[in-house]
Amino acid sequence: MFSLLGGLRRRQAGSKDVARERLRVVLMHDRAGANPELLEQVRDALVQSLSPLVDMDRRGIQVDLRRQGQSLALVASIPVRGFKRGAGGRG
């Protein structure tokens, strides 16, 4: 039942959407010349530079390349527990 519905839905959407999405992702990486290792290094650099200021959940950090209009954006999602005392602000 479930797989039947899934099959129907997939056929309705048309495979071109799948093609377009796969292309979008593969080109993002081709164009940036980026590989998973490189993104890992970016992640480490972010952790290092932010850790004096931010208390974050290191395991939840996500770094990815996304398309924004015609250009490429490096998007980082960093779960924050709080900011560290004495790090800037009024205090």
Partner: protein, 264 residues
């Protein structure tokens, strides 16, 4: 002084040679003096598509190595007397020629022709470097498939790095029925991804197979929709503003009209 245009792609088999043969014939029929250069050394094909394979005496490598004069190697088409072919060597490989030699060769051709079209081999290696070396402009051919578009993107990047400021795109083998049911990427999907100017869209067309069998480019047949698309591209290359064929709308569009006229 003419201009030189390289017809290239990343992925093989997407229709570069078919495009070169048809654009060459269409441009020549419009009155331009046209030289076609087969830069796919070792895998020559353009002669066969044009039906000129039995008339080859000398080839591009013979010219470059000084065994003959450029004029001796050029084959004149009998159907259209301002169309000429410089065939590739079949028994040599791409290392037989250097980019500098290609540059000099194409420069010499530009002195006596209005348009020089260069048929590039697939790939991004020396054969590609040779083919683009003497070109003023570039046309990138792709089909509406993930791998072909991906490789086209790579080629566009390489062309831009070599200071081709505005490569233009031909989308070949579009199948309107598949586009309509959402099973093939459409023109806008591809343009959005590649972000370059479109110079033409060529439908999948059985006439291409027949014309390849016969050695007569599809532009010579009025009934071929692909031939018509190629004539339009030729006009655009000469700076004319020609609307794109409406391949999609089944009734109002050209395809629908042609279907009614030719009952197919």
């Amino acid at each position: 002084m003419g201009k030189s245009i390289v017809i290239t792609s990343g992925k093989g088999g997407v229709g570069k040679t078919t495009t070169t043969a048809n654009l060459g014939m269409a441009l020549a029929q419009r009155g331009a003096r046209v030289a076609l250069v087969d830069a796919d050394i070792g895998l020559r094909n353009l002669d066969v598509l044009l039906g000129l394979e039995n008339r080859i005496v000398y080839d591009l490598v013979d010219v470059v190595e000084g065994f003959c004069r450029l004029r001796q190697a050029l084959i004149r088409d009998k159907r259209c007397e301002n169309l000429f072919l410089l065939p590739a060597a079949q028994t040599r490989d791409k290392t037989a020629v250097s980019p500098d030699q290609m540059r000099a060769l194409v420069a010499e051709l530009k002195e006596s022709f209005d348009v020089v079209l260069i048929d590039s081999p697939a790939g991004i290696e020396q054969g590609f470097q040779n083919a683009v070396a003497g070109a003023d402009e570039a046309v990138v051919v792709t089909t509406p498939e993930v791998s072909a578009v991906r490789d086209a993107d790579r080629i566009i990047g390489l062309l831009e790095a070599q200071e081709f400021h505005a490569p233009r795109l031909v989308i070949n083998r579009i199948r309107p029925a598949m586009v309509s049911r959402g099973d093939m990427m459409d023109i806008n999907d591809i343009l959005e991804i590649l972000a370059i100017d479109l110079v033409g869209v060529v439908p999948e067309d059985e006439h291409i197979v027949v014309s390849t069998n016969r050695g007569e480019p599809a532009v010579l047949q009025n009934s071929s929709l692909a031939g018509r698309a190629y004539r339009n591209i030729a006009a655009r290359l000469m700076g004319e503003d020609v609307p794109f064929l409406d391949l999609q709308s089944a009734n109002g569009g050209l395809l629908g009209r042609l279907r009614r006229i030719f009952g197919g």
